[in-house]
Subunit: 234 residues, 2 copies
Protein backbone atom coordinates (compact mmCIF):
# COMPACT_ATOMS: atom_id res chain seq x y z
CA UNK A 1 0.00 0.00 0.00
CA UNK A 2 1.07 3.55 -0.64
CA UNK A 3 -0.12 6.08 1.93
CA UNK A 4 -0.02 9.84 1.86
CA UNK A 5 0.23 11.30 5.36
CA UNK A 6 -0.82 14.91 5.15
CA UNK A 7 0.42 16.71 8.22
CA UNK A 8 -1.58 19.71 9.43
CA UNK A 9 -0.24 19.91 12.94
CA UNK A 10 0.34 23.65 13.23
CA UNK A 11 -2.10 25.98 14.91
CA UNK A 12 -1.19 28.82 12.56
CA UNK A 13 0.06 31.14 15.27
CA UNK A 14 2.15 33.07 12.72
CA UNK A 15 -0.81 34.12 10.55
CA UNK A 16 -1.61 37.31 12.47
CA UNK A 17 -5.19 38.25 13.20
CA UNK A 18 -6.91 35.16 11.87
CA UNK A 19 -8.35 32.51 14.17
CA UNK A 20 -8.17 29.69 11.64
CA UNK A 21 -5.07 27.49 11.35
CA UNK A 22 -3.53 28.34 7.97
CA UNK A 23 -4.43 25.04 6.30
CA UNK A 24 -8.09 26.08 6.61
CA UNK A 25 -7.79 29.53 4.99
CA UNK A 26 -9.50 30.01 1.65
CA UNK A 27 -7.27 29.93 -1.41
CA UNK A 28 -9.40 30.80 -4.42
CA UNK A 29 -12.63 28.82 -4.11
CA UNK A 30 -11.58 26.29 -1.46
CA UNK A 31 -9.43 25.90 1.67
CA UNK A 32 -5.68 25.32 1.35
CA UNK A 33 -6.04 21.83 2.82
CA UNK A 34 -8.55 20.81 0.18
CA UNK A 35 -6.17 21.86 -2.61
CA UNK A 36 -3.48 19.71 -1.01
CA UNK A 37 -5.77 16.71 -0.51
CA UNK A 38 -6.93 16.91 -4.14
CA UNK A 39 -3.35 16.63 -5.39
CA UNK A 40 -3.06 13.26 -3.67
CA UNK A 41 -6.60 12.15 -4.51
CA UNK A 42 -5.84 12.64 -8.18
CA UNK A 43 -2.76 10.41 -8.05
CA UNK A 44 -3.76 6.86 -9.04
CA UNK A 45 -0.74 5.56 -7.12
CA UNK A 46 -1.90 6.72 -3.69
CA UNK A 47 -4.06 4.07 -1.99
CA UNK A 48 -5.08 5.96 1.14
CA UNK A 49 -4.73 9.42 2.61
CA UNK A 50 -4.12 9.83 6.34
CA UNK A 51 -4.94 13.38 7.33
CA UNK A 52 -3.32 14.37 10.62
CA UNK A 53 -4.89 17.46 12.19
CA UNK A 54 -5.03 18.90 15.72
CA UNK A 55 -7.64 16.88 17.66
CA UNK A 56 -9.93 19.86 18.18
CA UNK A 57 -10.14 20.38 14.39
CA UNK A 58 -11.12 16.83 13.40
CA UNK A 59 -14.86 17.49 13.15
CA UNK A 60 -14.28 20.72 11.24
CA UNK A 61 -11.92 18.94 8.82
CA UNK A 62 -14.44 16.17 8.31
CA UNK A 63 -17.05 18.75 7.39
CA UNK A 64 -14.70 20.35 4.85
CA UNK A 65 -13.98 17.01 3.19
CA UNK A 66 -17.70 16.28 2.92
CA UNK A 67 -18.33 19.70 1.44
CA UNK A 68 -15.49 19.90 -1.04
CA UNK A 69 -14.43 16.38 -2.07
CA UNK A 70 -16.11 13.18 -3.19
CA UNK A 71 -13.59 10.66 -1.96
CA UNK A 72 -14.13 10.74 1.78
CA UNK A 73 -13.85 6.96 2.12
CA UNK A 74 -10.28 7.08 0.87
CA UNK A 75 -9.33 9.46 3.67
CA UNK A 76 -8.88 8.92 7.41
CA UNK A 77 -8.69 11.84 9.82
CA UNK A 78 -6.30 11.29 12.71
CA UNK A 79 -5.34 13.46 15.72
CA UNK A 80 -1.81 14.82 15.45
CA UNK A 81 0.77 15.03 18.24
CA UNK A 82 2.56 17.86 19.99
CA UNK A 83 5.30 18.28 17.39
CA UNK A 84 5.86 17.26 13.81
CA UNK A 85 7.49 13.89 14.44
CA UNK A 86 4.85 12.98 17.03
CA UNK A 87 2.21 13.80 14.44
CA UNK A 88 3.88 11.67 11.76
CA UNK A 89 4.17 8.85 14.29
CA UNK A 90 0.48 9.16 15.26
CA UNK A 91 -0.37 8.63 11.59
CA UNK A 92 1.86 5.52 11.44
CA UNK A 93 0.28 4.03 14.53
CA UNK A 94 -3.17 4.65 13.15
CA UNK A 95 -2.20 2.78 9.97
CA UNK A 96 -0.70 -0.09 11.99
CA UNK A 97 -3.82 -0.49 14.14
CA UNK A 98 -6.30 -0.22 11.30
CA UNK A 99 -4.59 -1.72 8.26
CA UNK A 100 -1.43 -3.39 9.57
CA UNK A 101 2.04 -2.63 8.21
CA UNK A 102 3.44 -4.67 5.29
CA UNK A 103 7.13 -4.74 4.31
CA UNK A 104 6.57 -2.91 1.06
CA UNK A 105 4.28 -0.19 2.42
CA UNK A 106 5.38 3.31 1.50
CA UNK A 107 4.37 6.58 3.13
CA UNK A 108 4.65 10.05 1.64
CA UNK A 109 4.64 12.64 4.44
CA UNK A 110 3.49 16.03 3.20
CA UNK A 111 2.76 19.46 4.66
CA UNK A 112 -0.94 20.31 4.51
CA UNK A 113 0.11 23.87 3.70
CA UNK A 114 1.97 22.95 0.46
CA UNK A 115 -0.99 22.91 -1.92
CA UNK A 116 1.02 23.10 -5.16
CA UNK A 117 2.80 19.73 -5.05
CA UNK A 118 2.79 18.17 -8.53
CA UNK A 119 2.08 14.67 -9.85
CA UNK A 120 5.67 14.55 -11.12
CA UNK A 121 6.99 15.16 -7.60
CA UNK A 122 4.64 12.53 -6.11
CA UNK A 123 5.64 9.95 -8.76
CA UNK A 124 9.36 10.58 -8.33
CA UNK A 125 9.07 10.30 -4.56
CA UNK A 126 7.52 6.86 -4.92
CA UNK A 127 10.02 5.68 -7.55
CA UNK A 128 12.94 6.95 -5.48
CA UNK A 129 11.84 5.13 -2.35
CA UNK A 130 11.36 1.92 -4.31
CA UNK A 131 14.88 2.24 -5.67
CA UNK A 132 16.81 3.84 -2.81
CA UNK A 133 14.69 3.46 0.34
CA UNK A 134 14.07 7.10 1.35
CA UNK A 135 13.38 10.37 -0.48
CA UNK A 136 13.22 14.07 0.35
CA UNK A 137 11.92 16.71 -2.02
CA UNK A 138 14.25 19.71 -2.22
CA UNK A 139 15.32 22.52 -4.53
CA UNK A 140 18.73 24.08 -5.00
CA UNK A 141 19.05 27.07 -2.66
CA UNK A 142 17.69 30.17 -4.37
CA UNK A 143 19.55 32.69 -2.23
CA UNK A 144 23.10 32.42 -0.99
CA UNK A 145 22.89 30.52 2.29
CA UNK A 146 25.11 31.61 5.17
CA UNK A 147 25.82 30.33 8.64
CA UNK A 148 25.68 33.04 11.31
CA UNK A 149 27.25 32.82 14.77
CA UNK A 150 25.79 33.77 18.18
CA UNK A 151 27.03 37.36 17.83
CA UNK A 152 25.22 37.86 14.53
CA UNK A 153 28.39 37.71 12.41
CA UNK A 154 28.70 35.74 9.19
CA UNK A 155 30.56 32.56 10.00
CA UNK A 156 30.55 30.49 6.85
CA UNK A 157 29.11 30.62 3.34
CA UNK A 158 28.90 26.99 2.16
CA UNK A 159 29.42 26.18 -1.49
CA UNK A 160 26.14 27.19 -3.13
CA UNK A 161 25.79 24.17 -5.43
CA UNK A 162 25.62 21.84 -2.42
CA UNK A 163 22.93 23.73 -0.53
CA UNK A 164 19.27 22.78 -0.90
CA UNK A 165 16.01 23.96 0.63
CA UNK A 166 13.88 21.06 1.81
CA UNK A 167 10.25 20.75 0.77
CA UNK A 168 7.80 17.88 1.09
CA UNK A 169 6.84 15.12 0.33
CA UNK A 170 9.42 13.23 2.31
CA UNK A 171 8.87 9.58 1.55
CA UNK A 172 9.88 6.43 3.38
CA UNK A 173 9.24 2.73 3.88
CA UNK A 174 6.46 2.90 6.45
CA UNK A 175 7.79 0.27 8.87
CA UNK A 176 11.31 1.65 8.75
CA UNK A 177 10.15 5.21 9.31
CA UNK A 178 8.18 4.16 12.37
CA UNK A 179 11.22 2.34 13.82
CA UNK A 180 13.51 5.27 13.05
CA UNK A 181 11.31 7.81 14.83
CA UNK A 182 10.66 5.45 17.75
CA UNK A 183 14.38 4.90 18.23
CA UNK A 184 14.60 8.45 19.57
CA UNK A 185 13.16 9.90 22.77
CA UNK A 186 10.29 12.34 22.55
CA UNK A 187 12.72 15.11 23.50
CA UNK A 188 15.07 14.16 20.64
CA UNK A 189 12.18 13.91 18.19
CA UNK A 190 11.14 17.40 19.17
CA UNK A 191 14.59 18.76 18.27
CA UNK A 192 14.64 17.24 14.78
CA UNK A 193 13.33 19.51 12.07
CA UNK A 194 11.83 16.52 10.30
CA UNK A 195 12.08 12.76 9.84
CA UNK A 196 15.09 13.19 7.52
CA UNK A 197 17.20 14.46 10.38
CA UNK A 198 16.41 11.29 12.31
CA UNK A 199 17.48 9.19 9.29
CA UNK A 200 20.70 11.18 9.00
CA UNK A 201 21.46 10.66 12.71
CA UNK A 202 21.27 6.92 12.09
CA UNK A 203 23.39 7.14 8.94
CA UNK A 204 20.60 5.99 6.60
CA UNK A 205 20.76 7.49 3.09
CA UNK A 206 18.00 9.85 1.96
CA UNK A 207 17.93 10.66 -1.76
CA UNK A 208 16.93 14.08 -3.04
CA UNK A 209 14.00 14.41 -5.47
CA UNK A 210 13.98 17.71 -7.36
CA UNK A 211 11.10 19.87 -6.14
CA UNK A 212 9.62 23.00 -7.66
CA UNK A 213 9.90 26.66 -6.68
CA UNK A 214 6.09 26.75 -6.80
CA UNK A 215 5.78 23.99 -4.18
CA UNK A 216 5.71 26.65 -1.45
CA UNK A 217 4.79 26.27 2.21
CA UNK A 218 2.16 28.75 3.35
CA UNK A 219 3.29 30.07 6.72
CA UNK A 220 2.78 33.85 6.70
CA UNK A 221 0.29 36.33 5.20
CA UNK A 222 2.93 37.06 2.52
CA UNK A 223 2.96 33.36 1.56
CA UNK A 224 -0.82 33.49 1.27
CA UNK A 225 -0.53 36.43 -1.11
CA UNK A 226 2.02 34.52 -3.19
CA UNK A 227 -0.19 31.43 -3.12
CA UNK A 228 -3.09 33.46 -4.48
CA UNK A 229 -0.93 34.66 -7.37
CA UNK A 230 0.19 31.06 -8.02
CA UNK A 231 -3.32 29.64 -7.80
CA UNK A 232 -4.45 31.97 -10.57
CA UNK A 233 -1.65 30.77 -12.80
CA UNK A 234 -1.78 27.03 -12.20
CA UNK B 1 30.04 60.22 1.31
CA UNK B 2 27.57 57.39 1.25
CA UNK B 3 27.16 55.68 -2.11
CA UNK B 4 24.59 53.15 -3.27
CA UNK B 5 26.01 50.86 -5.93
CA UNK B 6 23.07 49.26 -7.71
CA UNK B 7 24.29 46.21 -9.57
CA UNK B 8 22.41 45.17 -12.70
CA UNK B 9 25.03 42.92 -14.20
CA UNK B 10 22.89 39.99 -15.28
CA UNK B 11 21.67 39.54 -18.81
CA UNK B 12 18.46 37.88 -17.63
CA UNK B 13 19.08 34.57 -19.38
CA UNK B 14 16.78 32.79 -16.92
CA UNK B 15 13.68 34.84 -17.77
CA UNK B 16 12.50 32.63 -20.64
CA UNK B 17 11.22 34.15 -23.82
CA UNK B 18 11.86 37.79 -23.07
CA UNK B 19 14.68 39.75 -24.66
CA UNK B 20 14.97 42.31 -21.88
CA UNK B 21 17.27 41.76 -18.89
CA UNK B 22 14.94 41.31 -15.91
CA UNK B 23 15.80 44.65 -14.27
CA UNK B 24 14.10 46.35 -17.24
CA UNK B 25 10.81 44.42 -17.11
CA UNK B 26 7.71 46.41 -16.16
CA UNK B 27 6.47 45.98 -12.60
CA UNK B 28 3.21 47.88 -12.28
CA UNK B 29 3.70 51.24 -13.95
CA UNK B 30 7.50 51.29 -14.20
CA UNK B 31 10.51 49.04 -14.76
CA UNK B 32 11.94 47.00 -11.86
CA UNK B 33 15.15 49.03 -11.92
CA UNK B 34 13.28 52.30 -11.45
CA UNK B 35 11.51 50.94 -8.37
CA UNK B 36 14.90 50.00 -6.95
CA UNK B 37 16.50 53.35 -7.79
CA UNK B 38 13.59 55.21 -6.19
CA UNK B 39 14.12 53.40 -2.90
CA UNK B 40 17.63 54.84 -2.70
CA UNK B 41 16.67 58.24 -4.11
CA UNK B 42 14.17 58.65 -1.30
CA UNK B 43 16.77 57.98 1.38
CA UNK B 44 18.19 61.33 2.60
CA UNK B 45 21.33 59.50 3.73
CA UNK B 46 22.43 58.35 0.27
CA UNK B 47 24.63 60.99 -1.42
CA UNK B 48 25.10 59.37 -4.82
CA UNK B 49 23.82 56.37 -6.75
CA UNK B 50 26.20 54.42 -8.98
CA UNK B 51 24.18 52.31 -11.37
CA UNK B 52 26.24 49.46 -12.86
CA UNK B 53 24.66 47.96 -16.00
CA UNK B 54 25.96 45.90 -18.93
CA UNK B 55 27.76 48.32 -21.27
CA UNK B 56 25.34 47.75 -24.14
CA UNK B 57 22.43 48.83 -21.91
CA UNK B 58 23.86 52.15 -20.72
CA UNK B 59 22.03 54.33 -23.23
CA UNK B 60 18.76 52.47 -22.65
CA UNK B 61 19.15 52.86 -18.87
CA UNK B 62 19.86 56.55 -19.26
CA UNK B 63 16.64 56.96 -21.25
CA UNK B 64 14.67 55.17 -18.52
CA UNK B 65 16.07 57.43 -15.80
CA UNK B 66 15.16 60.51 -17.84
CA UNK B 67 11.66 59.19 -18.41
CA UNK B 68 10.82 57.98 -14.93
CA UNK B 69 12.87 59.93 -12.37
CA UNK B 70 13.74 63.53 -11.62
CA UNK B 71 17.08 63.07 -9.93
CA UNK B 72 19.33 62.12 -12.83
CA UNK B 73 22.20 64.30 -11.61
CA UNK B 74 22.45 62.22 -8.44
CA UNK B 75 23.01 59.09 -10.51
CA UNK B 76 25.98 57.87 -12.54
CA UNK B 77 25.66 55.01 -15.01
CA UNK B 78 28.72 52.78 -15.20
CA UNK B 79 29.54 49.70 -17.32
CA UNK B 80 29.60 46.50 -15.25
CA UNK B 81 32.14 43.67 -15.47
CA UNK B 82 31.96 40.01 -16.42
CA UNK B 83 30.87 38.76 -13.01
CA UNK B 84 29.38 40.27 -9.88
CA UNK B 85 32.60 41.17 -8.10
CA UNK B 86 34.07 42.68 -11.29
CA UNK B 87 30.94 44.81 -11.57
CA UNK B 88 31.15 45.97 -7.96
CA UNK B 89 34.84 46.77 -8.52
CA UNK B 90 34.07 48.72 -11.71
CA UNK B 91 31.73 50.90 -9.64
CA UNK B 92 34.45 51.47 -7.01
CA UNK B 93 36.99 52.47 -9.62
CA UNK B 94 34.54 54.88 -11.18
CA UNK B 95 34.02 56.51 -7.79
CA UNK B 96 37.78 56.69 -7.18
CA UNK B 97 38.45 58.33 -10.55
CA UNK B 98 35.58 60.80 -10.38
CA UNK B 99 35.15 61.65 -6.71
CA UNK B 100 38.17 60.19 -4.93
CA UNK B 101 37.91 57.80 -1.98
CA UNK B 102 37.83 59.16 1.59
CA UNK B 103 38.43 57.06 4.70
CA UNK B 104 34.86 57.34 5.92
CA UNK B 105 33.17 56.66 2.58
CA UNK B 106 30.55 53.93 2.74
CA UNK B 107 29.07 51.92 -0.12
CA UNK B 108 25.83 49.96 -0.10
CA UNK B 109 25.93 47.32 -2.86
CA UNK B 110 22.45 46.29 -3.93
CA UNK B 111 20.84 44.04 -6.56
CA UNK B 112 18.95 46.03 -9.18
CA UNK B 113 16.36 43.25 -9.12
CA UNK B 114 15.45 43.69 -5.43
CA UNK B 115 12.94 46.53 -5.76
CA UNK B 116 11.34 46.14 -2.33
CA UNK B 117 14.26 47.12 -0.10
CA UNK B 118 13.03 49.32 2.76
CA UNK B 119 14.28 52.53 4.37
CA UNK B 120 14.69 50.62 7.64
CA UNK B 121 17.04 48.15 5.93
CA UNK B 122 19.04 50.95 4.27
CA UNK B 123 19.37 52.86 7.56
CA UNK B 124 20.44 49.79 9.54
CA UNK B 125 23.03 48.89 6.90
CA UNK B 126 24.60 52.33 7.27
CA UNK B 127 24.48 52.29 11.09
CA UNK B 128 25.95 48.80 11.22
CA UNK B 129 28.89 49.68 8.98
CA UNK B 130 29.61 52.78 11.06
CA UNK B 131 29.64 50.66 14.19
CA UNK B 132 31.09 47.32 13.02
CA UNK B 133 32.72 47.93 9.62
CA UNK B 134 30.73 45.62 7.32
CA UNK B 135 27.09 44.57 6.99
CA UNK B 136 25.08 41.97 5.08
CA UNK B 137 21.30 41.92 4.92
CA UNK B 138 19.90 38.45 5.59
CA UNK B 139 16.82 36.67 6.91
CA UNK B 140 16.58 33.50 8.96
CA UNK B 141 16.21 30.53 6.58
CA UNK B 142 12.54 29.99 5.81
CA UNK B 143 12.86 26.35 4.75
CA UNK B 144 15.02 23.72 6.34
CA UNK B 145 18.40 24.00 4.64
CA UNK B 146 20.29 20.82 3.80
CA UNK B 147 23.69 20.02 2.37
CA UNK B 148 23.56 17.44 -0.43
CA UNK B 149 26.52 15.33 -1.63
CA UNK B 150 27.64 14.56 -5.21
CA UNK B 151 25.39 11.48 -5.37
CA UNK B 152 22.29 13.50 -4.50
CA UNK B 153 22.02 12.17 -0.95
CA UNK B 154 21.33 14.33 2.08
CA UNK B 155 24.61 14.87 3.84
CA UNK B 156 23.94 17.31 6.63
CA UNK B 157 21.05 19.38 8.01
CA UNK B 158 22.66 22.28 9.87
CA UNK B 159 20.97 23.71 12.96
CA UNK B 160 18.14 25.79 11.55
CA UNK B 161 18.54 28.79 13.88
CA UNK B 162 22.05 29.43 12.54
CA UNK B 163 21.14 29.39 8.84
CA UNK B 164 20.35 32.60 6.99
CA UNK B 165 19.49 33.51 3.42
CA UNK B 166 21.53 36.47 2.19
CA UNK B 167 19.87 39.45 0.59
CA UNK B 168 21.20 42.88 -0.28
CA UNK B 169 22.26 45.60 0.52
CA UNK B 170 25.69 44.42 1.53
CA UNK B 171 27.48 47.44 2.91
CA UNK B 172 31.15 48.20 3.40
CA UNK B 173 33.76 50.89 3.89
CA UNK B 174 34.44 51.79 0.27
CA UNK B 175 38.25 51.79 0.39
CA UNK B 176 38.41 48.55 2.34
CA UNK B 177 35.98 46.82 0.00
CA UNK B 178 38.06 47.79 -3.02
CA UNK B 179 41.24 46.46 -1.37
CA UNK B 180 39.51 43.25 -0.32
CA UNK B 181 38.24 42.47 -3.81
CA UNK B 182 41.56 43.46 -5.41
CA UNK B 183 43.46 41.13 -3.09
CA UNK B 184 42.00 38.20 -5.03
CA UNK B 185 42.67 37.15 -8.64
CA UNK B 186 39.94 37.56 -11.20
CA UNK B 187 39.45 33.78 -11.13
CA UNK B 188 39.00 33.80 -7.35
CA UNK B 189 36.61 36.75 -7.54
CA UNK B 190 34.55 34.83 -10.06
CA UNK B 191 34.16 31.91 -7.61
CA UNK B 192 32.91 34.06 -4.72
CA UNK B 193 29.16 34.36 -4.52
CA UNK B 194 29.52 37.94 -3.34
CA UNK B 195 31.84 40.39 -1.60
CA UNK B 196 30.99 38.86 1.80
CA UNK B 197 32.72 35.64 0.83
CA UNK B 198 35.89 37.61 0.10
CA UNK B 199 35.66 39.28 3.52
CA UNK B 200 35.17 35.89 5.19
CA UNK B 201 38.22 34.47 3.38
CA UNK B 202 40.28 37.26 4.90
CA UNK B 203 38.73 36.75 8.35
CA UNK B 204 37.08 40.18 8.46
CA UNK B 205 33.80 40.27 10.43
CA UNK B 206 30.56 40.97 8.57
CA UNK B 207 27.54 41.75 10.77
CA UNK B 208 24.05 40.61 9.79
CA UNK B 209 21.27 43.18 9.37
CA UNK B 210 17.78 41.68 9.55
CA UNK B 211 16.17 41.78 6.08
CA UNK B 212 12.56 41.25 5.08
CA UNK B 213 10.81 38.33 3.40
CA UNK B 214 9.43 40.87 0.92
CA UNK B 215 12.94 42.02 -0.13
CA UNK B 216 12.91 39.41 -2.89
CA UNK B 217 15.28 39.02 -5.84
CA UNK B 218 13.49 38.80 -9.17
CA UNK B 219 15.19 36.03 -11.12
CA UNK B 220 12.45 33.90 -12.71
CA UNK B 221 8.97 34.46 -14.19
CA UNK B 222 7.56 33.10 -10.89
CA UNK B 223 9.44 35.82 -8.98
CA UNK B 224 7.94 38.40 -11.34
CA UNK B 225 4.47 37.09 -10.53
CA UNK B 226 5.23 37.32 -6.81
CA UNK B 227 6.64 40.82 -7.27
CA UNK B 228 3.42 41.91 -8.96
CA UNK B 229 1.42 40.64 -5.98
CA UNK B 230 3.79 42.46 -3.61
CA UNK B 231 3.74 45.69 -5.61
CA UNK B 232 -0.03 45.86 -5.26
CA UNK B 233 0.20 45.51 -1.51
CA UNK B 234 3.07 47.84 -0.69
Amino acid sequence: MIYAEIVAGGKGTRMGNTELPKQFLMLGDKPVLIHTVERFLSSPRIDRIILCVPGEWKAYTSGLLDGYTEAGDKIDIVSGGEHRNATVLAGCRYIEENYGIEDDDIVLTHDAVRPFVTQRIIDENIETVKRYGAAVTAIGAVDTVAEVDEEGNLKNIPQRERMYQEQTPQTFRLGQMKSVIESFTDEEQRCFTDVCKAYLKLGIDVKVVEGERSNIKITTPLDMKIAEALAEEI
